[in-house]
């Protein structure tokens, strides 16, 4: 198959080590649509935009620059399936473009390992690759309303709103909604879509994160009749999935047998007819029966 577009694939930490079904679904969907993704040899953590950046911005920036330089050496734009990685790489690229002093320090650190900061790297979230390169209509054409019985609550995640301008902040979340709609799944409105899942707060104050953020969001999704939550970020996925287990265990807060959580790329895979067993939907730690019963 001739590829319509080629990307350097940045998987990040979560997906390879915790969510293999997301990686498998992504590889299958990209293959199906003729989008070439090549793993980035020797990539590291993005690194995370919460802990590492707060500890030392220079380390965070240099590691991010190194990752982007790997993609640039491959001669390809970079794509990621994670909002957090997207945030880090986006912020790092802008910092390298605008802060000469920091760029100079990054250049010096990278020169020690024979690398250079990226000069003109393209960054993409997988939402953009699906919505822009593959196209919503193509998803719709192949989906044939397979998921028409599935009611989904969309959680875009905070960093999906990251953009160059205020006007563009809603572009990727809107694309996300259009993709969901194209798969045939029905979006349920629950009113607090933009509310954070609470993942970043969890490392500081777990009870607040779980009870005041996650539970509030789940409650509204549940009341709106969602069969599952669709996310664009592995960290949000973990918060929704493991957070529900913790809510039940620690605070006796549960939503029936639990709301399943899947990544957008898994929803697309299901939509275009890739079987749940093919990409390992059952490897999720949370319940998936409610999704399976609606396929």
């Amino acid at each position: 198959m001739g590829y319509r577009k080629e990307y350097a694939m940045f998987w990040g930490c979560w997906v390879p080590a915790r969510q293999p079904s997301v990686e498998a679904a992504c590889r299958m969907v990209m293959e199906r649509f003729g989008v070439s993704i090549e793993d980035m040899e020797g990539a590291s953590c993005c690194p995370d935009p919460v802990v590492t950046e707060r500890l030392q911005r220079e380390m965070w920036l240099t590691m991010a620059a190194r990752n982007m330089s790997i993609a640039e050496c491959m001669g390809k734009d970079l794509v990621t399936v994670c909002n957090g990685c997207y945030e880090t790489l986006f912020e790092a690229r802008e910092t390298l473009r605008t802060d000469e002093m920091l760029r100079g320090r990054v250049e010096k650190a990278l020169s020690r390992i024979g690398r250079k900061p990226p000069s003109n790297i393209g960054l993409n979230h997988i939402v953009e690759v699906i919505g822009r390169d593959i196209g919503v209509e193509e998803i719709r054409r192949l989906s044939r309303d397979r998921l028409s019985r599935l009611n989904v609550a969309i959680h875009p995640g905070c960093h999906l709103y990251r953009a160059h301008s205020r006007e563009a902040t809603g572009e990727k979340p809107k694309m996300f909604e259009e993709i969901v709609e194209a798969t045939g799944a029905k979006e349920v409105e629950y009113g607090i879509k933009r509310f954070c899942c609470g993942y970043p707060h969890r490392v500081v104050e777990e009870e607040f994160s779980l009870k005041m953020m996650l539970a509030k969001k789940l409650q509204r999704m549940w009341e709106a009749g969602a069969d599952c939550v669709v996310v664009a970020c592995p960290a949000c996925n973990i918060q929704f999935e493991f957070g529900q287990l913790e809510l039940k265990r620690r605070y006796n807060i549960a939503f029936d047998s639990g709301l399943p959580v899947i990544h957008l790329i898994e929803l697309v895979a299901l939509g275009i007819g890739i079987g749940p067993d093919e990409f390992g939907l059952k490897t999720h730690r949370g319940p998936i029966e409610k999704i399976l019963s609606k396929l």
Binding site: A17, E41, G42, D48, M59, T62, R66, A109, L110
Partner: protein, 220 residues
């Protein structure tokens, strides 16, 4: 050439790579930081060539390390010599063989911080009761760094494999059953991980967070 410039040049020549840096604690308070292995040579030079007099020694608990500041009076100038010792070691060479009067300051610091001064002729307690020896050290804090408890696993895993999550055996097994390719990141590529370590050393991340490359863990 001013006396200050002359002292700095002489110290550089005398201790070479033991001369770590020069700075100022105040505009009129030049300070040199020296490797603790070169402390005695630096102090001896100041005393023998510049007639330096030791005013006192300050010990500072920095969390992971102790800093020792030797305040030397040279003519009208107060010149500081700084050195440090990791808490795991907590030991420096006594300068009392060069300046006998330093012994009282060293004994006081030993009493309060439990820093050992190698070569101190009379290490008996000076200001704390004898029964406190080895039991109570009033000014010594537990080792601590900037990484709070809940962030330690993240930082250690980042330094150990360049990523912030390890790969559980269940996920390995799932990856195999899904026929996913081997992970090609720093987790499985030692040469790539080495690059991350080089970066950490270059920007001083290891020192900032207190990471011990030999033990592959944080020092606290």
């Amino acid at each position: 050439m001013s006396i200050e410039t002359e002292i700095l040049a002489a110290l550089r020549e005398e201790i070479g790579r033991g001369f770590i840096s020069e700075s100022r604690m105040k505009p009129d308070r030049p300070t040199v930081t020296v490797d603790r292995d070169y402390l005695n040579r630096a102090v001896r030079l100041l005393v023998e060539r510049f007639n330096a007099r030791l005013c006192t020694i300050t010990a500072v608990d920095l969390g992971l390390d102790f800093e020792l500041i030797y305040h030397m009076s040279i003519g009208g100038l107060v010149f500081n010599v700084k050195t440090s010792t990791p808490k795991e070691i907590s030991e420096v060479t006594s300068v009392s063989s060069i300046i006998p009067g330093a012994a009282s300051a060293e004994r006081e610091i030993h009493d309060l911080f439990n820093i050992k001064f190698q070569g101190l002729p009379d290490p008996r307690p000076l200001i704390v009761p004898h029964e406190w020896v080895g039991v109570k050290t009033p000014l010594r804090k537990p080792a601590s760094g900037i990484v709070v408890e809940y962030q330690k696993p993240t930082v250690e895993t980042l330094m150990q494999q360049g990523q912030v999550f390890t790969m559980p055996s269940t996920v390995k097994s799932h990856r195999q059953s899904l026929k996913l390719p081997d992970v090609a990141t720093t987790m499985t590529r030692p040469e790539a991980l080495k690059e991350i370590h080089e970066i950490a050393k270059e920007v001083g991340f290891d020192k900032r967070v207190g990471y011990d490359f030999e033990k592959m863990k944080l020092r606290y």
